[in-house]
């Protein structure tokens, strides 16, 4: 059995909340105890709505946001401290792809130079071979060689995202975290970029964490999917089954809320209310105020993540599972 490339145990991230007029600041637990592992070459999808802590989790997996509790192990080793030279050296092996490619690119440098920047920083390729590597990367993401001396604002949104992906792949990383990489793109362009990402991932056997609010895209690219709600993973399973037969009521609601062309709203499960304020989470199961199936136990006791079947877990009192919780 192979070892996971990335292993996170009980990750917690607390932001000092906005101070109230009178009294103390309420801390916000953006990530409240997340455990997950990613195998080499595997794609883990993370879905959740805004405020679910999925972006923070992604940054913690890369060590960009420090963990206030728990730990991240990459390739069996603990994450070095942010800003140290070991941390910087590790960047060559793990990379991030952003939602907004225009913001992530320096608008005063040509895209070829930006794609080549990791090569310079990590001294991976001798200077005289850098251009060849840049050309190779641009070709891999579907950019023409003559576009190399363009500036980011001269490209379309889809092309910019290709540049960001090429830059992320320059140092041949083993892990790629993509934070909403296609949600700023038009539908027709989304498909281009997703296909390209999938090809590159498969060809280079890169492990990938794909964060998105778009269930349809995650379904398409991920092997396994974790559903987050208010800083916790509430359900995790292979992407083939999780959307077809969701177990957690929140996953059910999410799946049900995806508008499918040609289908009307009737018979949909529409959640009432809004996600609670993370600074003041409800007691018991954090989902219970919106859950149509909630009963007394849900209001008092936090359900733990348990195995509910082969290779799938859920955190719900209503879903029968193992006696033993998954995480320590």
């Amino acid at each position: 059995m192979t070892a996971p490339i990335l292993e996170a145990t009980n990750l917690v991230r607390v932001y000092p909340g906005r101070r109230r007029l009178i009294g103390k600041a309420a801390p916000v637990r953006a990530v409240a105890g997340v455990t997950l592992r990613v195998m080499p070459g595997e794609v883990l999808g993370i879905v959740g709505e805004s405020g679910s802590g999925k972006s923070t989790l992604g940054r913690m997996l890369l060590g960009i946001d420090p963990a206030d509790g728990g730990e991240v192990r990459f390739d069996g080793n603990p994450m070095p401290r942010l800003g140290t030279s070991e941390w910087r050296a590790l960047r060559a092996r793990m990379q991030l792809v952003y939602q907004d490619p225009l913001a992530a690119l320096d608008r005063r440098l040509t895209i070829a130079r930006q794609i080549g920047e990791p090569l310079e920083i990590h001294n991976i390729v001798p200077r005289e071979h850098q251009q060849a590597r840049i050309d190779e990367l641009m070709d891999a993401v579907g950019l023409r060689k003559d576009q190399g001396d363009r500036y980011p604002h001269e490209l379309s949104g889809g092309q910019r995202q290709r540049v960001v992906i090429a830059r992320a792949l320059a140092s041949r990383p083993k892990l790629l975290v993509c934070d909403e990489p296609v949600s700023a793109l038009d539908v027709s362009i989304q498909a281009q970029v997703v296909n390209m990402l999938r090809d590159l991932q498969e060809r280079n056997r890169i492990a990938m964490v794909f964060i998105s609010h778009d269930l349809k895209v995650v379904r398409n690219i991920a092997d396994r999917v974790a559903v987050m709600y208010l800083g916790r993973i509430v359900e995790e399973a292979s992407s083939d089954v999780v959307f077809k037969a969701p177990q957690h009521p929140y996953t059910k609601a999410l799946v049900s809320s995806v508008p499918v062309p040609g289908k009307t709203l009737e018979g949909r499960m529409i959640l009432q209310g809004e996600p609670p304020n993370p600074a003041n989470p409800p007691s018991g199961c954090v989902f219970h105020p919106r859950c149509p199936f909630a009963f007394d136990l849900c209001r008092t006791t936090v359900p733990t993540l348990r195995h509910t079947g082969p290779d799938r877990t859920a955190a719900c009192h209503l879903v029968p599972g193992d006696a033993e919780p998954v995480a320590a």
């Binding site: 913001a103 440098l109 920047e117």
Partner: protein, 293 residues
């Protein structure tokens, strides 16, 4: 596969006149005139010692308070018979040197503090904040008056003092842009690639904020000219026998009724110069602001 929209197409070079025609299309007339005037001022500042007809202290007692148009003194003479044109040229040189030096000092000082506040946050940020509060509480002219009066005026002190003018503007801009670039933007991306902080600030953030800082300099520069000439006008800036635009106006004031040209010539230069920089600065800001395009 994907077709790229060609956004910027440079006009082909078709000689000198074509270039001027292009320029005319891109630069409004007022800005063009302003830029020409500024060029003239810079040339005067550089070559003043060579083109001055007289030494600025040379007195021609036989033709005191001569009106402009005098055959050997085009802009007339002052109460001691000194040539106004020569003094004007020298004054332009002095005022521009002070303003230029001070603008550079102010920009470097403010930007450094701003970056430091963005990088280290916490105590450094608070210190910068206190400094800015202090600057806001004491009008610059008042502060300068106090310092100059008690330390006595020297060229070096004047430049250094003026170098504190407007630093908080650069600090605020540099800090704001650096923080926004580091939170989600390109700087965060480069950090995430593994770049050292030095590389991030020098290779990425500085070039990106440079244009905004340059625009701020076009705001500060005329203000420093005004500040220096105001101080000199009050008799606390540049001291005689050296001469600056403000101090010429200050001394010319005594002869407002009998020889207004002594005051009018430098006053005109101050007005047109500050106006030119303001126009050019406005234009530059519109050009560099990506939201306008």
């Amino acid at each position: 596969m994907s077709s790229t929209p060609s956004v910027s197409t440079l006009p082909p070079r078709r000689g000198y006149f074509a270039a001027i025609a292009t320029l005319r299309r891109h630069v409004p007339l007022s800005v063009g005139l302003g830029l020409l005037w500024l060029l003239l001022m810079v040339l005067i500042a550089i070559f003043a010692p060579l083109i001055m007809p007289y030494n600025i202290t040379a007195m021609d007692l036989s033709s005191r308070l001569a009106a402009p148009g005098h055959p050997s003194h085009w802009l007339g003479t002052d109460e001691l018979g000194r040539d106004v044109l020569s003094r004007l040229l020298q004054s332009i040189r002095v005022s521009l040197v002070i303003a230029f030096g001070a603008t550079i000092i102010s920009a470097v000082f403010g930007t450094t503090l701003g970056f430091a506040a963005a990088k280290f946050r916490g105590a450094v940020e608070h210190l910068v904040l206190v400094l800015a509060d202090f600057q806001a509480a004491l009008p610059f002219l008042i502060m300068s008056l106090a310092v100059l009066a008690f330390f006595g005026s020297s060229m070096l002190l004047l430049v250094c003092l003026m170098g504190f003018y407007g630093w908080e503007r650069y600090a605020r801009i540099a800090r704001g842009l650096a923080i926004s670039a580091s939170s989600q933007g390109y700087a965060a991306a480069v950090v995430q690639l593994g770049a050292t902080p030095m590389r991030v600030y020098v290779r990425h953030i500085l070039p990106n904020v440079a244009s905004t800082l340059i625009v701020s300099m076009t705001l500060t520069f005329p203000e420093i000219i005004l500040m220096e000439s105001g101080l000199s006008f009050l008799g606390l800036g540049v001291q005689p026998p050296e001469s600056s635009l403000g101090n010429m106006v200050g001394f010319g004031r005594e002869y407002l009724t009998t020889a207004p040209w002594i005051m009018l010539a430098p006053a005109f230069v101050i007005m047109v110069t500050t106006l030119s920089i303001s126009l050019a600065g406005d234009w530059l800001r519109d050009k560099l602001d990506p939201t306008v395009r």
